[in-house]
Amino acid sequence: MTDRLAGICFLLLAAGYVWLSAGYTAGFGDPLGPAIFPRMIGIPAILLGLSLAIWPRHNADWAGPAGLLRQAAALVLLLGYALGLEPAGFLPATFAAVLGLGLLMGAPPLRGIATAAIAAAGLYLLFDRLMGLPLPMIGTWFG
């Protein structure tokens, strides 16, 4: 079943990709132009996607509800970490992300907090102070 879905997704993606390539027109002097190569890879992808949708072979096992929830929470945390790194600063953002992910992976709360604090401070000291990679210690939110 998942193979059928994957095949359909690839089919749509590749079809859209080839369709968009029609809008890319070349100037002069280039023998290939910007549209031919996308078509050369897009069209086989359409055919392979179609074949996968018609003759599926594999069915993926997804995690149970608890696992999926953990993964979704982790994804939110990862996106939040990406968006929050600059405004919040490296120390608070890393502390929150390491703590959150640690808890999702089954850390005992107190030891998780301690680990996150040590990790955030340790990485900052190691990379910013000792090895000279400039990291924003505290972001604009805090001053």
């Binding site: 290939l32 190569f37 890879i41 995690a63 994804l75 990406a82 790194l85 992300a97 992910l101």
Partner: protein, 501 residues
């Protein structure tokens, strides 16, 4: 004897203090990364690449660091296989078969010593092979024209999935997806913005480094959250001193395993895992009298020699042709390309200090690793007791820190997470990630070679099929595709017969 002279110059590069320090650090980090379940050479190297950029290391030093990590992972993977029955990384799966039973019989020290020596033999012989064969292949590759390179890339994409028996359609789709992602951005020769949807952030395309940290490090976190968390039982190493007689039992198997692993490594797409599998199954076929699987020293030595030899072999096509033989070498290729160094036959002429410095460093790395993995093994066994909830979030923090340090843009962190999710979904659906990376990396070069060939011929596509080298490569590609298709059909049919569908 110009090889010896070049190698001598290489040693002069490798023993520079900075390179020597990176070498030792890389060996240590690699063994650690390899020993930790869930992290393997691909993840380890992917996490380290942004850091090498951020610190402004030159290409030679970066390659020495990453190769030391790569070799180190191959040594480290066996530690948790033997003591925990959990492979530290993918190539170490075969080592659990006889390594863990040996540990349960109280022979953990023997098993660790046998596999350590086997790793040393495999890696050293492979480095020797690299020294001898890479210059030869580089000389042959000088005759490649643009059409031949195009054919070579077609072959690389068609064969990168290896003969692993997973659905070959998926391998091809993964490669095509990578190529599609590679066309995002400004077209280098016409300046047309393709697939950017008006976002200026995408004009430079996806940075391969950002993409592969996402694909390999972030997706691993999502994968990890899925498993039921269960800690394996750590078998105490028992007697500290291995018996020399047991180590000798594994020597023959190590030599045979090295030869097979080396060949598997050179083949595109096969890599270290296949090297280990092939070495173990050959050893079993030759010598099994019922002792394999219950703690036979030869069953420990063969796969370890195999995967270490394969990792050395995999460097050959990467350095000489610019076509990697495994996932980890694909990631290293990404780094070289990002440093504006195009691997290929000319690399040996233009940057001899990089090539020979790297080769010399690999010889030294083996000795460092032998010391780390025999007398100092105790440090690494202690690490296995650390909880995953403390280590995996650290991997995330280091990935973010590295990517942020080279791009200074939250947008790239979002791209990284996006690629992490993509990598997770693709792996769940049984797609391999290596073709995606390869497509992203080589797409632009493939298009450029096609352009060059067509401008030679004035737009005639027939030029692609006129050179004998290109035809030979297409022939090999066709044969390989037919073989994988046949193998996967056979596997599917066998599976259907077993499950009675």
């Amino acid at each position: 004897m110009d090889i010896l002279a070049s190698l001598w110059d290489g040693f002069a590069v490798a023993v520079l203090p900075i390179n020597l320090a990176l070498l030792v650090a890389g060996c240590f980090a690699g063994t650690l990364i390899g020993a930790l379940p869930g992290l393997g050479p691909v993840n380890g190297v992917a996490i380290l690449i942004p850091l090498t950029f951020a610190f402004g290391l030159n290409a030679t030093s970066s390659m020495i660091l990453l190769s030391a990590v790569y070799y180190g992972c191959m040594y480290g993977g066996r530690i948790s296989s033997i003591l925990l029955n959990i492979p530290g990384d993918e190539p170490a799966i075969m080592t659990t078969l006889d390594g863990y039973p040996m540990a349960r019989k109280g022979q953990a020290a023997d098993a660790l010593a046998i596999s350590g020596v086997a790793s040393f033999i495999g890696a050293t012989l492979a480095t020797l092979g690299l020294t001898l064969f890479a210059p030869l292949l580089a000389k042959a590759a000088i005759y490649f024209g643009p059409a031949d390179y195009f054919a070579l890339y077609v072959m690389a994409f068609a064969t990168i999935g290896g003969i692993s028996g997973t659905d070959p359609r998926k391998t091809l789709l993964a490669a095509l997806l990578g190529l599609m992602l590679g066309t995002v951005g400004l077209d280098p020769s016409t300046g047309v913005a393709r697939y950017t949807f008006g976002s200026f952030n995408l004009y430079d395309g996806f940075d391969p480094i950002v993409a592969l940290v996402g694909l390999f490090a972030i997706s691993e976190i999502l994968f990890f959250l899925e498993q039921k968390l269960q800690d394996g039982k750590l078998v105490p190493p028992g007697s500290v001193f291995p018996r020399l007689s047991r180590v000798k039992e594994g020597l023959g198997a190590s030599l045979r395993g090295s030869a097979i692993g080396f060949l598997a490594g050179i083949l595109p797409g096969a890599g270290a895992s296949l090297g280990a599998v092939m070495a173990y199954s050959l050893e079993k076929r030759l010598n099994d009298k019922g002792s394999f699987g219950t703690g036979d020293p030869r069953g420990v030595a063969a796969p370890e020699a195999g995967n270490n030899a394969a990792s050395g072999g995999a460097l050959i096509p990467m350095l000489t042709l610019g076509v990697p033989g495994s996932g980890t070498t694909a990631v290293m290729l990404a780094m070289l390309i990002s440093l504006n160094i195009q691997p290929g036959p000319l690399l040996f002429q233009r940057s001899p200090d990089l090539v020979w410095g790297l080769v010399a460093a690999l010889y030294l790395a083996n000795f460092v690793l032998l010391v780390l993995n025999l007398p100092l093994i105790g440090i690494f066994t202690r690490v296995l007791g650390l909880p995953a909830w403390g280590l995996m979030p650290l991997v995330v923090a280091i990935s973010y820190l590295g990517v942020y340090a080279i791009t200074h843009a939250a947008f790239d962190l979002m791209v990284m997470v996006g690629f992490g999710l993509l990598g997770f979904v693709l792996r769940k659906l049984d797609f391999s990630l290596v073709p995606v990376v390869l497509g992203l990396l080589l797409g632009m070069d493939m298009e450029n070679n096609l352009r060059r060939a067509l401008s030679i011929s004035g737009g005639d596509f027939l030029i692609l099929f006129q050179s004998p080298i290109a035809l030979l490569l297409y022939g090999i590609t066709g044969f390989f595709l037919a073989l994988t298709l046949w193998l996967s059909r056979r596997d599917a049919r066998r599976l259907a017969a077993e499950t009675g569908e």
